[in-house]
Subunit: 236 residues, 2 copies
DNA sequence: GAATTTAGAACTGTATACAGTTACGAATAC
DNA sequence: GTATTCGTAACTGTATACAGTTCTAAATTC
């Protein structure tokens, strides 16, 4: 059993704050203040921040300190393109390596999660369920590095999705979950048929479909984050 | 101008030590001893080590400390497969986005580096020249994330290559550089022709060719690292 | 002689203090 | 009124000390 240390707790919390914009994009991070908030000293906090830099959540300048990464549409596009790179190769490898037995278990898993999609579940749960599907395939590829990278990308993209979905809840384009589910089924069918070309093509199209949703979500995020900021500046 | 801090220096040095096996794979890292060697205290050293963990060079266990990553053939294979994933997508995007002018400059660059390949240059230089070619394409893809990941992968694969080439120097299979150069030319031609399928296929084959060289290199590395260790143990 | 327990050494985890750097604003010169 | 300089405050960079944990090996028991 892996005993979780203080640093792990801090990383989790700081990552959370970066994701939810509790730390504003581009803003400098005040180490003393944040360490006090988190109930630890600066030493473990800096260790956590260093790790988040390497994970791509923060940036760092010598003598200046740590900064939240600016949130721009270009970056989101880059992340989605990287997801395509990773996942297309993952599904190709899974096609070569997954046993029929593993694919049968995978199908059972997919059938079991289906009810969650159809009944109007929490959107955040839908996002996580979707992530799980994709991670499952990465696991079937038997490549630890691809899996690790996909987990990292998921973490960095998740907030955009959740923001996008948050607004979608009020004005929902409601068939999206079913579409997603259909794509997932088609990918699985291609895997079972050992049709690598179909599997990769479907995967690529499936991810790229979320593209515009994502850039749209970034725009919404900007308005949510910066407008209140500007308003408060008006007051001062 | 970015002033380089002490931590940057330490990271560079520690990464170097991990790459060259000055720190043995799987071995625990003694922070006090290493910090003394590097002429710094444990605080900046631990910051550096944490970053190297996130970059994939080291592992970490709470309460136990930092460890060099074990060097096994499976991991090398994973890294090469990840390279394929990244680079195939990069060359595809470059095919869409690079202007004719950029490709002309690229061709000039390739022609200019050619002499270095034909004249028997240092193998380590050849490795770096090859890396540069691939990074160039990643840059043409205009995707910062793919570029970042490729740089990371290069760093982690480099030591295997250099070991493989070191032994190749004594018993050289001499046409390898020319083959590599040919593949590079074919990739460029495909880019100019905007033939994404040819570009990606050539890129994939080019990287996969290095595959067995790499696993062979790992075997050699094992013999070089562990045999002397065992011998010295005999003496004690 | 083998297994188990226990004491101590070594090492990691964290807090704190201080040195060095950067940023900000007031004061002065033009 | 604007620009420049200087001083101070805030923050980052690093060392060190100490607390808590893990590992090692010796001693004891069976």
């Amino acid at each position: 059993m892996q005993k979780t240390s203080n640093v792990d707790r801090i990383i989790e919390k700081a990552r959370e704050m970066a994701i939810t914009f509790e730390l504003k994009p581009g803003a400098r991070i005040n180490e003393s203040a944040l360490s006090k908030d988190l109930g630890a000293s600066r030493t473990p906090l800096r260790e956590a921040l260093n790790r988040l830099v390497a994970e791509g959540y923060l940036t760092f300048q010598t003598g200046k300190g740590f900064f939240c990464r600016a949130l721009d549409p270009k970056r989101i596009m880059d992340l989605y393109e990287t997801r395509v790179a990773i996942e297309v190769e993952a599904v190709r490898l899974a096609c070569l390596r997954a046993t029929d037995g593993e694919l049968a278990v995978f199908r059972a898993y997919l059938n079991q999660t289906e009810p969650a999609y159809s009944q109007g579940a929490e959107v955040s749960e839908l996002v996580l369920a979707d992530e799980d599907f994709h991670l499952y395939i990465a696991r079937l590829s038997q490549n630890d590095e691809l899996l690790r990278l996909l987990e990292n990308l998921n973490g960095r993209i998740r907030y955009v999705r959740s923001i996008g979905l948050k607004t979608m809840q009020s004005a929902p384009p409601p068939q999206a979950p079913e579409l997603s589910l259909t794509a997932h089924r088609r990918i699985l069918d291609a895997l079972v048929a050992r049709d690598a070309d179909a599997a990769t093509a479907t995967m690529r199209a499936h991810i790229e479909r979320r593209w515009e949703e994502a850039t749209e979500a970034v725009r919404i995020a900007y308005s949510q984050i910066y407008v209140p900021e500007d308003l408060s500046r008006e007051v001062l």
